[in-house]
Every structure is written in C-alpha cells, then in structure tokens.
Symmetry: C2
Subunit: 209 residues, 2 copies
C-alpha cells in the first residue's frame, strides 16, 4: 500500500509557502486545500462562506449573526437565529480538516491544520519563511499599488494576525521552530529547490517504519 | 574548487543538535567547534578559559575581574587590572568564530555563530528541536540523578538561558523559524536520518551558483 501523506504548511505572508504547497500537491498528485477549506466548511455546515471568510485566520471574538444558505442543514452547531462565534466556525473548519485528512493524502495550508491533526501519525508539519526582501517583492507583486513602506506594514500586520489566530487556537507558538517538524527559508535556494527538499523530507519513512 | 561549507547549529537542550553537528562534521570531513571555541578564544586573548566558560551562552551583565594567563597578550581588549564584561568576552569569541570560518569548512554549534556569520555567503544556519519526550530522556541519560520532573525544569531553564543569550546579542529570536535557514525536529526521523537531511540541505548550491 502506498504511504499516506498529510502535509500541513504554515507560512509567513509573502514567503511563497502557498505556492510551495500547491506545487508539492501537484507533483505528488494529491489533493490541495487552502481557501478550498472555506467552501467545504460552508457546504458541510450550511453556513454562508462569507462568515468563514470573515473569520479566516482571525481571532476577533466578535459574533456573527448566523443565517442559512438554505441548501444544507447538517450542522448540529448551526441554529437559525442564534449567534455563531468564531470559535464555532473554527470547530466546523477543524472537522472538515480532519475529514479530508481521513479521506486520503493531501496538502493543507494554514488554518492550524498542524495542530488539528497533531495526533494523526501520517501528518508532517512544515513552516515556510523567507527574507524580508523576497517577502516585500511578493507583496508588491500581489498588490501593485503598494509602496515598499506599505508592503512592510502589510507583512507585519499579516504575520501578527496569523500568529494571533494560531496562538489563540493552539497550545503552540506560530512560527516557532519547535511547533513544526520542518521549517525552511525559501529565499536560500528558491521556491523550486525548496519544494524538492520538502518533498524529500515528507516522503521519508518515519522511525520504526 | 570544492564548495566551502559553514554550518551553524542552534539547538534546544536535549534535542541531539550537538551530536547532529558532530557527526555531520565527521561525515563531511570538516572541522567541528563547540566547547572548542572557548579554548581558542582563551588562547587568542590570553584570558583564562574559566571566564569564557562562566559566560558561555549566558547574558548576565556581571563583570569579571580580568587576569592574564601570562602566555599570551595579543588581545587589544584585554588590559591587566581592568574589568572585563561578558560583552567583551562575546566579542573575542565572535572574532574567533569569524577567524575559523574564514580558514575553511566547519560546523559551529551555538554561541550565536549564525548571527556572527550572517554576512558570510557560505554560511547555512540550522536549528534542531525535538519532542519533550526525547529531550527528557536525553537529559536523564546525561545526568542519571535527575528525576523526570527535574529534567523538565532543567530543559526549561536551559532553553531560557540560551534564548536570553541569543536574543541579547543578536537582533533575532532564538528558536524562531525565521531566524534560521532550516529548522528540523530530530524526533520525527531520528538522529541519523536528520543528519542525512541536513547534509543534503547544506550541500545544495545556492540560487544563482
């Protein structure tokens, strides 16, 4: 039987972590989930995707008035006219992450997937960082209106938001080496060779296998 | 011409980072520096090794009364009857690190070598972490008198001390993924396969080479 591979990817904004994950999934011929998790969580719960998008990788404790999409009512958490917290949305998304990981090999980007799947023996967690120079360049390519100064602000804000989300929902620290199996600076060798290394790392057999 | 390889290894206490560095140097047939840096710094400066040992990877601002070893007087920093700060000892050790790195390929463990050599294009920085379970086991093997509870305390204290030293002397954060090129959890695949992976990573040609 072929080895099941579950890879979670945490990443600094502008590190190229998303593209590392996407290409890795393509090369391995396995499923890839990033924003796709929002659509799945919405379909599973019957809660409008907009709510998940608003709460995506954010911690703000604000409550969203819930409303149905009409086509699905299979979430026990959802009650029409109730208030739905970010914590509930996180729980729904966590269930979706566990479900897709149980179905087969996949790459999951962000959303605390490494923590949610911490007891899954097939899971290998990766974090991608990059130099400020590369991150600023990517941010300015992503939004051409950004000045370099704006880009730095934007990157700091994004890191802060991701860290806050991760640190709130897990008992680990976002971006700390000890929170992941492998952390890699994509600026050292570039995206393609970074993917090669990550692929080789995750395809290694674990101790005792 | 053969590629010059400078590898710096940061590590959690009990992670096996030291043995990863030592075996890596053996396999590559290159020099290895850990505590050896203390002897070299002592020889270079004429300051008793005891002072370097006391200040080793510690930040305490306490001053040590300096005294000569008599056999060497080639350090401009050293002045008989002066007081010598930990900062001065750090500077001497930094000069030694830069010197050995300029002389040839080597593996350097701890002592902020990644920061000291940040502008050295041959340098690749690695950080080794491990599971609590493995770290506790190693601490208890290292000192057989330790109970499991003592070992946990000892590990926490060692991490705190290393973090404090690193964060004081560098503008980076000890153990943060973004401070290193590669961070690896030695518990996932065990020490030998961790070494294989680090060796492969550091032997890759950098972008544009």
């Amino acid at each position: 039987m072929e080895k099941k591979i579950i890879v979670t990817i945490g990443r600094q904004f502008g590190s190229g972590g998303r593209i590392v994950g996407k290409k890795l999934a393509e090369q391995l011929g396995i499923a890839y989930y990033d924003k796709e998790l929002i659509n799945l969580a919405s379909r599973e719960s019957g809660i409008c995707g907009e709510f998940f998008e608003k709460a995506d990788e954010k911690t703000s404790g604000s409550l969203f008035k819930s409303w149905t999409m009409g086509f699905s009512m299979n979430s026990a958490i959802f009650q029409s006219n109730d208030y739905l917290s970010n914590e509930s949305l996180f729980q729904i998304q966590s269930d979706v992450i566990r479900k897709v990981a149980s179905q087969g090999s996949c790459v999951l980007v962000g959303r605390c997937a490494d923590y949610i799947l911490r007891d899954n023996p097939d899971c290998v967690s990766v974090f991608v960082s990059a130099s400020w120079q590369d991150r600023i360049r990517r941010a300015m390519e992503y939004d051409e209106k950004l000045t370099e100064k704006d880009a730095v602000e934007c990157l700091k804000k994004a890191d802060k938001s991701r860290a806050s989300y991760y640190n709130y929902y897990t008992d680990k620290v976002w971006g700390a080496a000890e929170s992941y199996d492998l952390c890699i600076n994509s600026s050292l060798y570039g995206i393609d060779r970074t993917i090669d290394f990550v692929r080789e790392f995750i395809c290694t057999e674990k101790k005792g296998e």
